[in-house]
């Protein structure tokens, strides 16, 4: 198992290096003048030059790439200067001459627009997105699996057909549309009953300056974000369950005299979960990259909104940073999913040993 995990980690690292290179080529490898974009059209030559030096834009492209990788890598080499010490906030490992080998958290450079470190901006937005994505996936998985199982057990009844109909409509609604629709119905038309706000964030500020959790504000974003995966999980669970219920070992379980609950819970459901787990992990990873439409509509200060705002302002370091963080999360979620597979299915476990 340990060799398996270390192998997977190695793969993950390779993927991330690939992503870093791709991101660089996309945003900095193409022709264009980032310095002008940062400072606008009417900046003096000296400022432009400073920006150029900061981003190493005066060097050839391949050197720019090396600098970029060096900036991002947690293990890197820098010139031994005070400004570098401040800029990277590193811990020295070993010094040799003018250079120093250091450990640091990845340096994602500065936002063109806000002149704040990109990593700070991302770290600020990340918890909001994680909370939103986690609650949405939890909502979708629990209800999806329960409803899917229920539909499978009542195959071809009216209830089953109704559930399929609803879930097909759920899949076909684009999220920006359902977000606006839900917002309008539940936070505007029915606001006096539901008391849900139109927009808002995880924390709200009191008049006296204290912050407190704002549960009401998260309900609508979670539901709208979860509704499409919910529909997908319901259908997947239903069809996987129907397949499993046809299998020989279910007949064995019935021949043992087990009651329906035991058959479904102990024998059928775990066997049906594999495709559902695959879907859950995919959706979760995607949500972690930022639920762009939902965050925009509900004015939720997560990664998605940060990215969209940055794109609007051509703030490339922020966009690059958020692409990197999204792909890192993707890789992490995939690793976890692999471990979950092994936990569910002993056959996968022994194949890895």
């Amino acid at each position: 198992m340990l060799t398996y995990i270390s192998k997977q980690l190695l793969y993950a690292l390779t993927v991330l290096i690939g992503v870093v290179i791709t991101v660089f080529l996309l945003f900095q490898g193409l022709p264009g003048d980032p310095a002008r974009m940062t400072m606008g059209q009417r900046t003096d030559a000296a400022t432009i030059e400073n920006v150029n030096r900061e981003l190493a834009l005066d060097k050839p492209k391949w050197q720019q790439l090396l600098y970029y990788i060096n900036d991002i890598s947690p293990l890197s080499v820098h010139e031994l200067t005070n400004s570098n010490q401040n800029k990277y906030n590193y811990h020295t490992v070993i010094t040799f001459g003018k250079y120093v080998l250091v450990v640091k958290s990845p340096y994602l450079r500065f936002s063109y627009q806000l002149q704040k470190p990109v990593s700070d901006m991302l770290l600020q937005a990340l918890p909001f997105t994680i909370v939103l994505a986690f609650l949405a996936i939890l909502f979708a998985s629990v209800f999806g699996i329960v409803l899917g199982t229920f539909a499978a057990l009542h195959q071809n009844t009216l209830l089953d057909r109704l559930l399929i109909f609803i879930s097909v409509s759920g899949i076909s609604f684009p999220s920006f549309f359902s977000a606006i629709l839900f917002q309008w119905i539940f936070a505007f038309v029915l606001a006096s009953i539901t008391h849900l706000p139109m927009t808002g964030n995880l924390y709200a500020y009191d008049l006296d300056g204290h912050t407190h959790l704002n549960i009401a504000a998260i309900i609508l974003p979670v539901i709208t974000l979860g509704i499409r995966p919910l529909a997908v999980f319901t259908q997947l669970t239903r069809s996987a369950m129907l397949d499993v219920l046809q299998m020989d070992f279910i007949r064995t379980a019935r021949a043992k005299g087990l009651n329906k609950w035991n058959i479904v819970w102990r024998h059928a459901l775990r066997n049906a979960l594999n495709p559902v787990v695959t879907a859950i992990s995919g959706w979760f990873a995607e949500m972690l990259a930022g639920a762009f439409f939902i965050e925009l509509v509900f004015n939720w200060n997560g990664l998605g909104k940060l990215t969209v705002d940055a794109l609007n302002k051509n703030d490339f370091p922020v966009v690059m940073g958020s692409v990197l963080i999204a792909s890192t999360l993707f890789v992490v979620v995939n690793l976890l999913t692999d471990i979950v597979y092994g936990w569910i299915d002993p056959r996968i476990r022994s194949a890895r040993n």
Binding site: T252, R254, L258
Partner: protein, 568 residues
């Protein structure tokens, strides 16, 4: 005798699906400690009879009438509610299913699966239940019971899994055990052990056993009494010995007669239709098989294989010491033109890998394959493709080896058009229709889809497909193993007819030794990737040299009380 003394007593059981009658007045009585064999072919109603006894039939729209009574209860099983049935299942009646590979839950340890049935029906705490399971595992002679307790099904061999199933069936000391083809999926040596175990256990526990099988030899060696079921009706029932010696019903006689074990090579196998005298028999050009077909092998070698080796690496890329598993280990043999070479061996011995290597579907690691003197292993892609039409294969499972979305005619003509054996689609069609007739089907079947055919008919389609490219050599990989004995007889006859008509050579692979004996001129025995013995058929059976061959032959279930049933 009062009703209480029967483990099972079934009377006038009828089962209807809408207007169709699936079971007709079925009656069965089993005393404690007695083994009743229920014999019939697929679709005869033997499985639905067994599932009816504990009401496990899942299809809705089924209605049954009659009575099914179990020991210790005077209530009719048909009148019980679902809740009451749950108390009967696994407690008073238990089942052993055919496929131990799929009948166990893959995600649950073997111990827990057996424990579950105990806890469900008796008030035992976890510890007591566990120690009972371990005792059961010992009773069914599972090696290392405490380790097997926490093993998952995939970590056990097929025979061991079936032992777990048997332990499960015994757990609550039921008065009736139903075993539905419990050894059909197992190797012949394992089958012998499992049958032995089942008999011992039934005698020891004084449970009644309903043993369902298509294999008369197995049934006759195990059962006290035998019932023969045909089209949902029990046509004959009686003491094993009497039934085998003096089969009364023509269907029973037919079943006995069409087994290849009862015939010499070159004799045509009788089929069920010969006995029942109905006209549903497929009309095909019969080419008479004679001894001649077996004497025909010429001296010219068609296929020469030498030192063929194929290994599979196991273990990860990162591990330095890769463990190699030799699936085929330096195998050498030769096949003459017009000869049938048999290949037998237990599952996992490398039969299938060998056949795939011969077709170059899997490239061998080393060794040479010469076909008509030409080296095949070094051919380039294009040359290989045009060579492929000379060698064809007929697979085991006619259900999964035909594309369900492709009409039969298209499936057969595909390769003909590819190899440019015919110049136009029009010509292909005429040729395919001709082939269909040759394999005993009808020209109008051209446009039908595979699901419209029975298993035997599908195998005929597969044969037609193999023949379409006019091959010289055909590999039959367990080609009749999935078929009923009467259908098997038809297909074997067809293969022999085609052999003498087209001068074909076969490599006939099977785990069923009596079929291989009937079909082959020579037989090779394969064990762990190697050919351990090779001899002319009869010589191999009469004077086996290696212990392994002796063991295989000894394990073949023999028909007990054999008599002059061959007469029609």
């Amino acid at each position: 005798m009062s009703k209480d003394e029967f483990s099972l007593s079934v009377h006038n059981l009828n089962l209807f699906s809408g207007e169709t009658r699936l079971l007709h007045q079925v009656a069965l009585d089993i005393k404690p400690g007695e083994i009743l064999g229920l014999v019939g072919e697929s679709g005869s109603g033997k499985t639905i009879t067994s599932l009816s006894i504990i009401q496990l039939l899942q299809k809705s729209g089924l209605t049954s009438t009659g009575s099914i009574r179990l020991k210790g209860s005077d209530r009719n099983v048909l009148d019980l509610s679902e809740h009451e049935l749950q108390k009967v299942r696994g407690n008073h009646v238990s089942m052993i299913f055919q496929e131990p590979m799929t009948a166990l839950n893959p995600l649950m340890t073997c111990g827990n699966q057996v424990k579950e049935i105990i806890v469900q029906h008796r008030k035992l705490n976890d510890h007591e239940a566990k120690s009972e399971v371990l005792q059961l595992f010992e009773q069914v002679r599972l090696p290392d019971p405490s380790k097997k307790y926490s093993s998952y099904p995939h970590q056990l061999s097929g025979g061991q899994k079936q032992r777990v199933m048997i332990a499960m069936a015994l757990a609550n000391k039921p008065s009736l055990i139903i075993a539905d083809e419990p050894t059909t999926a197992l190797d012949v040596t394992v089958q012998a052990e499992i049958l032995h175990l089942i008999r011992d256990i039934v005698r020891e526990h004084q449970a009644g056993l309903l043993f369902i099988s298509h294999d008369l030899a197995v049934v006759s060696s195990l059962c006290d009494r035998i019932a023969v079921i045909y089209r949902g009706e029990i046509v004959e029932e009686g003491d094993s010995k009497a039934l085998m010696e003096q089969p009364k019903h023509p269907y029973t006689r037919a079943l006995l007669a069409c087994r290849p074990a009862a015939h010499k090579q070159g004799q045509r196998l009788p089929v069920v239709a010969d006995f029942l005298g109905n006209d549903s028999r497929p009309q095909h050009k019969t080419i008479s098989v004679t001894q001649e077909a077996f004497d025909r092998p010429t001296d010219a070698y068609l296929l020469e294989v030498s030192k063929l080796t194929k290994s599979y690496a196991s273990g990860s890329v990162l591990q330095k010491a890769k463990t190699e598993y030799l699936a085929v280990n330096e195998v050498s043999f030769r096949v003459r033109r017009g000869e049938t070479l048999g290949l037998v061996g237990e599952s996992g011995c490398g039969k299938t890998t060998l056949s795939r290597c011969l077709l170059m579907l899997i490239p061998p690691d080393s060794g040479s394959i010469r076909f008509q003197g030409e080296e095949i292993t070094t051919l380039h892609h294009d040359q290989l493709q045009s060579w492929r039409k000379k060698v064809q294969i007929i697979f085991q499972d006619p259900y999964s080896s035909l594309n369900p979305r492709l009409a039969v005619g298209r499936a057969i003509s595909e390769a003909m058009l590819f190899h440019k054996i015919v110049s136009s689609a029009q010509e292909a069609r005429l040729k395919v229709q001709d082939l269909l007739v040759q394999v005993g089907l009808k020209p109008e079947h051209y446009h039908r889809y595979p699901h419209e055919f029975s298993g035997g008919q599908r195998q005929r389609i597969c044969i037609a497909r193999a023949l379409s490219v006019e091959p010289e050599f055909i590999i039959c990989d367990e080609s009749v193993s999935a078929l009923d004995v009467s259908v098997q007889a038809q297909i074997l006859n067809l293969l022999n007819d085609l052999k003498s008509a087209f001068g074909l050579s076969y490599l006939f692979i099977s785990h069923d030794l009596s079929v291989v004996r009937y079909m082959s001129n020579r037989i090779m025995v394969m064990q762990k990737g190697q050919i351990v013995e090779e001899a002319p058929s009869n010589q191999l059976f009469e004077h086996p040299k290696t212990d392994y061959t002796k063991k295989l032959i000894a394990a073949i279930p023999k028909l007990q009380h054999e008599n002059n049933y061959v007469k029609t």
